[in-house]
């Protein structure tokens, strides 16, 4: 018998990789880490000597910034490769790029790619832990975790919370991951939008669907999705003007006590009225802050062995 049991390498490729216990542990770790953000010296030595590579094939501001900062706050070395200016543009295949990166022996590779399954392919080609930072319209699991964290901090619970996700669900990896994550922790997702932007068959996942903005009234959380102008070209909706009239989240459509979220970047005046975006009900900036601590927690969780894991152990190390 071998002395040590080989553990499968852990990845975060989708919300489906997580149990409810996993998700709650990451959120607890993130809460512990959040307290360190108030210190004068915000850097923790936890991941010193580790290498985190960000492999981004799609433009991103906030996700990339928060992964970079998360790794740096934990003292990991970071390296960022973007599709412009690297061999990616020279026609190198994703697998070859992954193999090239593997030669540097990274501990974590964070992948964003316009196509579904790209992070899975990288996971199969290297020995690193892989984190999906968004693959096509498929998954964006760290966004879902940061949204859960934000909701839990704001409302004090997740179980039974009604979350209305309004807008272009069809093209949204944020919506797909969030629905799965909400169901995982016992919350109640509801999708609201025009029939052309709600994927056929999505009810089978266990969420409710409504084509009327009135359905927002029943929600604890109104989660607004970004509406992209290019959707008009393919006739998903006749005009942004009509979309805004039917589904725009205006002060009149938000009732007292509701909170409003948006994954950013916002199209003010399209899917969300500026008066809502800047109101006390808006959790948009809280989401950005959550993004940092949740991504720190994810990196920490992947790189520490199970069994050693306690709530916010980084505080002891620091």
């Amino acid at each position: 018998m071998s002395a040590s049991v080989e553990r499968p390498r852990r990845h975060l490729l989708g919300v489906g990789d997580l149990t409810r216990e996993d998700a709650e542990r990451v959120l607890d770790t993130a809460r512990g880490l959040e307290r360190t953000l108030d210190r004068e010296v915000k850097k923790l030595p936890t991941l010193r000597g580790r290498l985190v590579v960000n492999l981004f094939y799609e433009s991103s501001t906030r996700t990339l910034a928060s992964f970079e900062l998360a790794a740096k706050r934990l003292s990991a070395d970071t390296m960022t490769l973007r599709s412009s200016g690297s061999s990616v543009d020279k026609g190198e295949s994703l697998r070859d790029t992954a193999l090239t990166l593997a030669a540097y022996d990274p501990d974590v590779i964070v992948v964003r790619h316009p196509h579904i399954g790209a992070p899975h392919l990288v996971a199969g080609a290297t020995d690193a832990h892989v984190v999906n930072a968004g693959d096509g319209k498929h998954q964006h699991p760290t966004q879902a975790l940061l949204d859960l964290f934000t909701i839990r901090e704001a409302l004090g619970r997740l179980e039974g919370v009604a979350v209305a996700i309004v807008g272009d669900v069809l093209h949204s990896r944020v919506a797909r991951s969030l629905v799965e994550a909400l169901l995982l922790v016992g919350a109640e997702p509801l999708l609201v939008g025009p029939p052309t932007l709600i994927p056929r068959g999505i009810e089978a996942t266990g969420c409710d669907v409504s084509h009327s903005v009135d359905a927002l009234a029943h929600a604890d959380v109104v989660y607004v999705l970004r509406m992209q102008a290019e959707r008009m070209e393919s006739a998903y909706v006749p005009s942004l003007r009509e979309y805004t009239a039917l589904y725009g989240v205006t002060p009149e459509r938000v009732r007292p006590g509701q909170v409003v979220m948006h994954p950013g970047p916002m199209n003010r005046g399209v899917e969300i009225d500026p008066r809502v975006a800047d109101s006390g009900a808006s959790l948009v900036t809280a989401q950005v802050r959550s993004g940092l601590v949740v991504r720190m927690a994810v990196l920490y969780d992947l790189l520490t062995a199970p069994g050693l894991r306690v709530v916010a152990p980084v505080l002891e190390v620091a």
């Binding site: 295949s93 579904i116 399954g117 498929h138 056929r200 999505i202």
Partner: protein
């Protein structure tokens, strides 16, 4: 219309359970072949329990990738794969580089097949020049040069007007049209069947209605012009229903389904493995069951592999970047035996008929029969042999099989094509 290597003709005797759905035989027998011709069929008291001797298979739908992509398949490698799969005849699609749309390209392929094809090979030619869906090819000249049928397979004939002209004009060439039914404005960008799985994964949908709408259009036009049509690789329940109705109304239609559409569903796409990406896509269990029902009642006359080899580096990519298609010649029988015969869904004799006589009739090719005086076109099958599909299993130059790493039951022990032993395991 079929071309193959000139080779020796073999003599041999095979004792097995003889199953010939055309002749209505299912009994132990010894079949004697002399110089490539069946000379005697003698009843035998017993035969090895798992061995079945049947008319060899005919595949109406194969991509040989020649000319243009010989790195993926050649006539030699594709026909070796066919031999290993139990086939005595295959028909190649014209969506090559260049497209088979002139008699000179077709004649060069026939010439090449005479040099290197291990099993008799027929070639189809395009319906429209360059498969662009704009102008008809010179069908009469192409038929004279050996075209088995006409097809724009890989793309639909989008214009109803052109399709009507093609149907009418095909009478001059006296060949059927083989149609890839896909309404392009409904399927555009589609990566997989539109349904529950695509909704969850976020892959763009290729809905059933994009196929069935085109099936309905083409059946209406075929009825109006009273010309025979062969519908390729049907995948949707609504398409099977449409074929059944049209045939009852007198439309001359034959139809194929592939082993993957008969055996698998879109649940396979959850793996995000590009070897689960085909056109048309894998659909739901309801669609699969409808295809099986069509196979049983004869609405689906043919099982066609749609053998579509792809280079490894092209399939080894994120799902949306990978090309459509899977190989099938070397796994067709084993997959059907494993997933349909052994589960009791379809009788063995039905599978054997739809793999052999059905496709031969649909495309006007000689029907393989086991009878004295007939050329030997035989396949010897072991119904109990277990094997695991690996990249090393294939004679094909490509290994993009949806069955990789799976265990299958049923193997092709020997293939005799046009009187010659072309495969012996």
């Amino acid at each position: 219309m079929l071309a193959w290597q000139n080779g020796r003709l073999d003599s041999l005797a095979l004792r097995a359970r003889l199953v010939d759905p055309v002749e209505g035989i299912d009994a132990p027998a010894t079949v004697t072949v002399e110089d490539g011709v069946v000379t005697a069929i003698d009843g035998a008291p017993t035969a090895p329990a798992s061995l079945v001797l049947a008319p060899a298979f005919v595949d109406p739908h194969v991509h040989l990738r020649t000319p243009g992509r010989e790195d993926e398949e050649t006539i030699a490698s594709g026909t070796a794969a066919a031999a290993a799969g139990g086939y005595c005849a295959i028909v190649a699609m014209p969506n090559t580089e260049p497209v088979v749309d002139t008699a000179s390209v077709l004649a060069a392929l026939v010439e090449r097949a005479r040099e290197e094809a291990l099993v008799p090979t027929g070639f189809t030619a395009a319906i429209s020049k360059g498969q662009r869906g704009e102008e008809l090819t010179e069908m009469a000249e192409l038929a004279a040069a050996g075209a088995v049928a006409f097809t724009d397979d890989g793309s639909p004939v989008a214009s109803a007007g052109l399709m009507r002209r093609a149907l009418a004009y095909s009478a001059v060439a006296d060949r059927p049209l083989a149609l890839h039914c896909e309404e392009p404005t409904l399927s555009r960008g589609g990566q997989m069947h539109e349904g529950v799985v695509s909704a969850e994964l976020g892959l763009a949908g290729w809905p059933s209605v994009a196929e069935s709408l085109m099936v309905e259009r083409d059946l209406a036009l075929a009825g109006y012009e009273d010309r025979p049509v062969h519908l390729q690789h049907l995948s949707a329940r609504e398409s099977v229903d449409a074929v059944r109705r049209a045939r009852r109304a007198g439309v001359r239609v034959t139809a194929e389904a592939s082993p993957h559409h008969l055996c698998a569903t879109d649940e396979l796409v959850r793996s995000l493995d590009a070897n689960a990406k085909m056109n048309p896509p894998l659909r739901t269990e309801e669609d699969r069951a409808a295809l099986v029902e069509g196979l049983l009642d004869g609405t689906i006359d043919c099982i066609a592999t749609d053998h579509a080899p792809h280079a490894r580096h092209e399939k080894d990519a994120p799902f949306e970047e990978a090309p459509f298609g899977v190989t099938g010649l070397e796994t067709a029988f084993a997959a059907l035996n494993t997933y349909l015969v052994r589960t009791g869904e379809v009788p063995l004799a039905t599978i054997l008929e739809r793999l052999s006589a059905g496709p031969a009739r649909a495309l006007g090719l000689p029907v393989p029969r086991i009878a004295v005086g007939e050329p030997a076109n035989l396949v010897l099958l072991d119904l109990e042999a277990d094997w695991i599909v690996t990249e090393g299993s294939f004679r094909s130059r490509s290994a993009n099989s949806w069955l990789l790493e799976r265990s299958l039951t049923g193997a092709v022990v020997k293939t005799v094509a046009a009187g010659r032993v072309v495969h012996a395991a």
